[in-house]
Symmetry: D2
Subunit: 335 residues, 4 copies
């Protein structure tokens, strides 16, 4: 039985994580923290947890945390994580970080997209990007795993076989993503106020969403040349789910049947990617750790469609998958 | 052509009012105010108004307003209205007030339910409650009209014929109302944050919603004894619409056919109440000034169902209807 | 390990049941049937089951079913179940029936509300109504369990402590229920066509919904006099969830604190009822087997609010709870 | 005052058309037909029209229609229209057709995409495509106007200035569209059953949606070379609204400011296109005849976003706009 801490326990990804861990046979949630909610029972922050977990929000030092748990899940926001990670890691704890702070390996790219100097640049080389379908072996031994962003998970899983096999022009991949509103977090804002976003649909952060360099970085590692993407996120009136449609110019003569073979072979060892012939709906993957992927060839272009639950495979489920790998447990345990 | 001012122009009811008035052949919107948005074009506050109205948010004194317009629609929040109404009315302007400040005729009841002394009690006797189906003649000549609350409009219109004709026990009427989320206004809160209220349903303010005394007061005017109601509002995951279900003990031997006759006769002179045999849906009345009403007799009780659009018949549409009556225009003009 | 069959596997309650049973450590799904879909893999009927279950829809005789499984879950529609139950039960199989066919113990009441003679009246005396919070001991030994309706579960759990303790007038209880649209089943109809019911709200079957006699029958068993209810269901634009608001005249002097004590004591032995002080939202119970209940006293009336997931506690979860009791397993296993 | 007939009056676009025409000062709706609903009042088919229109569904011959009206709006489905258009047009009536039957000018392309021979090919040369922003002058004098598809309207308006000015590579334009569910019509199907499509998101008809040749045909008329598009439609859980995102390779050195000037100049004479700097939401254009357009330059590509209400600017509103032009009325009358 592993004891774990959850930092930043008041948000949506933390809630999903708690629900998953409550079912996990090898995990005990021992610590939960949240800056605003200290002293309050977890079920007061998340009414759905009433009578399901008997734990209060605490404020603890890194040393106190290290005395109580074996592994830390950090759901803290960007910028804050890197400032607390150091002391935790120095105690020897292992860390799965939901923020973007350790996803980019280049501090300059971080500074460019996040508008501030990276607070902990010397640690970047030791971080493993927590997408098990691409980096499973490195995850097993990592001390710190950067849990991927929700959009990047959908885009990278959709494109990785194409980029890896060199069948597309990687210089101008178009990624058109659509996400449910839980992806915007739990802080009320006008843009996520019900009567504003219900029955509506809009694009946002065109050309400057921070997941762009993350997608390019990870895909470039699978290519022999730098990958360039145009990434457009859209906000969809539903709670959860991401559907990502990508468009790439085909450089090969492979047809749809060959490409499906390529995808099936690529993902055969990976239990949470389902390569499907039909056009998947986000609802098929909702409340699961699956990513459903299909593809079509249209007029010399390869289109991919990938669907996942942004809070599970796009966040908390991936974290549990990483946790399992880091602790020698079956990859699917509790998922 | 009447020139009008809209105070508090940044909310949802103000937006609906503006859209209605832009179609109104006898109205020119000359002034719009909003505390937070001074100097900004109206279309920056409400993007849907882009290229539809060329007006900026201003800050004006009552005297300046009086020089520019003939009538004022106040969409200011409760408490604030009564503090600005006096100076406006003293200039001779006519006022249609969306807040609750002038709806209750008893300052003590106001103090009890709103938690503060009424700021302008001496004016209460001259106010007319702006429900044209009950008080049309008084509205015509009023200087200040208190536009009804959205829940009270649905409940009162549903029950008025029963109360008026004495066929029910008025001491314990049960009113179970369901409202879309725009009724909660435009300020972001956790309770109206999309992922909190979407795909969910809850009751709120049971037994202590401020529309309770308003419903009791107005219905009591139509009865020969004090009316007592138990009012339970619920929040429904949709933008707009109220459906109110009422349950009353029947004191008469009237059957459904007789009761339908009663309703049809009662509402025959009123163009915006549709007495229907089928069970109405809020969508039938959405984006219109109609209130659809039906009834059923079940086990000695009379049930009524009334549906309306909370932003139109429950707010902005009723205000235009009142405006028309106050200015000798056809009651349906622009609606 | 118990082997089970699911009859009528193409609907929503069957899908939820399958998902629950896939997590259940003591169950193996061995047979799935569906009239329209014979020969098709389950994952073709329910894409969300892709790679999660390797089972095809079959057509089998009762004898063949009896050879392969220990227990049958029947998700067949009303009327059809009673015609297949006999042969199955005669093989000695145990049956958990989701339909209404065995819920009413009086064939005349069935004929009155369902418009047909009961097809299997002699079996009614041996059926147990599968609400564990009221009939747990009988369920343990039953051969046939009638799984409760979704509305009745919410209404009965909300009212049972009041009826049982005699603190309310049981002759005219008002039950105002609100349900998500999955409760209407998976067959496309105009009333459940997305653009018809989205952003809308309506009541239906007022005074003649078939769950009325079921509620009255079960509550009457807990009272010393016949219980009479006025039951009004409403359709809410969301997938899942029921919230039931009840209104009863209080006959006792008990206050809210006493009544909360009554409820806590009543439900203390029952792991899936959460008595809460706050006003619960259906989302708190969504995707769980919990029923959340609260109450308020208003003007001499007791109001109860109960929330549950109509597909889980209102159907598939209750069935698994019953299955556990029938097989001597922990009541919460797999839930 | 013009008298009009509406053929196929039971669908959603017909309902929107009726609502618009009821406000139109120069129109009287004299005839409504529907194959399934003959003899029924319009308000029985569309409850929202109760007490708003006193007209029954009729079955009339073309000659009878011609005796009663000046202009026909046909909301009949594809295939059926072309079989009734001939007799109507031979009486001299003018026709605005909502179906796709007359949108493509090449019968072979029609046969390829619609799977049947065109029923009326000799009439195609005289048809005008009813997009006023591109073909206003031809519409004025046309006897038959093919009202554009909803997706094509959004895509063509978004791209026309780019194609017309030659600043993009027109051979491989990517069009990623997202539509509300009312676009699928009013016939219940599993794909539009509420619990299937609510809280979900999917692509459909990739590479083979019938609006593809319509978009290519119309854009090619504005280009000096054939335009080729990859068109991917997605179904969004909301009633109404289309947002179309397009991606084109830029061939010119024009920056965003220049391109905005290009768009503003192009659409300056057109009252229903709003070129906006912000990223528009479909809600801004909902229930109006506006199409909101913006653009961004990203990594050598030009992205456009266009939003409209699929039932108004994408159908009924465009038809009224065409009607106004055909009858010498102000283009914006009634809109």
């Amino acid at each position: 039985m592993k004891r774990v801490a959850i930092l930043g326990a008041s948000g949506y990804t933390a809630l999903e994580l708690i629900k998953l861990l409550l079912r996990h046979p090898e995990v005990e949630i021992s610590v939960a923290t949240s800056r605003q909610q200290e002293g309050v029972p977890l079920s007061a922050v998340h009414p759905s947890l009433t009578e399901r977990v008997d734990l209060g929000i605490q404020h603890l030092t890194p040393k106190q945390i290290a005395e109580r748990v074996d592994c830390v899940f950090s759901c803290l926001p960007h910028g804050l994580t890197a400032s607390v990670a150091g002391p935790l890691l120095e105690t020897g704890l292992r860390l799965i970080d939901f923020s973007a702070d350790y996803r980019l390996d280049d501090p300059d790219t971080y500074a460019e997209w996040y508008g501030q100097q990276h607070p902990d640049p010397q640690r970047l080389p030791s971080v493993v990007y927590g997408l098990p379908e691409l980096f499973r072996d490195n995850i097993r031994t990592a001390q710190i795993v950067a849990n991927p962003g929700c959009y990047p998970t959908s885009a990278i899983l959709g494109l990785a076989p194409l980029v890896d096999s060199g069948v597309i022009d990687v210089e101008e991949i178009i990624i058109d993503s659509k996400s449910g509103i839980s992806g915007a977090g739990r802080s009320p804002k006008l843009t996520t106020h019900y009567p504003e976003c219900n029955e509506s649909l809009s694009a946002y952060n065109i050309g400057r969403h921070r997941h762009t360099p993350e997608i390019e970085l990870v895909l470039s590692k699978k290519s022999d040349q730098p990958v360039g993407v145009i990434f457009t996120p859209h906000l969809i009136p539903m709670d959860r789910g991401i559907l990502t449609t990508t468009y790439s110019r085909r450089l090969s003569s492979m047809g749809e049947a060959d490409l499906f073979d390529l995808y099936r072979t690529f993902y055969e060892p990976h239990p949470f990617v389902r390569v499907v012939k039909h056009l998947p709906a986000t609802k098929d993957a909702a409340n699961t750790n699956f990513c459903d992927i299909t593809l079509r060839v249209v007029k010399g272009h390869i289109l991919t469609i990938s669907c996942l639950d942004n809070l599970i495979k796009g966040a908390a489920g991936a974290a549990v998958q990483n946790f399992n790998l880091m602790h020698g447990l079956p990859e699917t345990m509790g998922l």
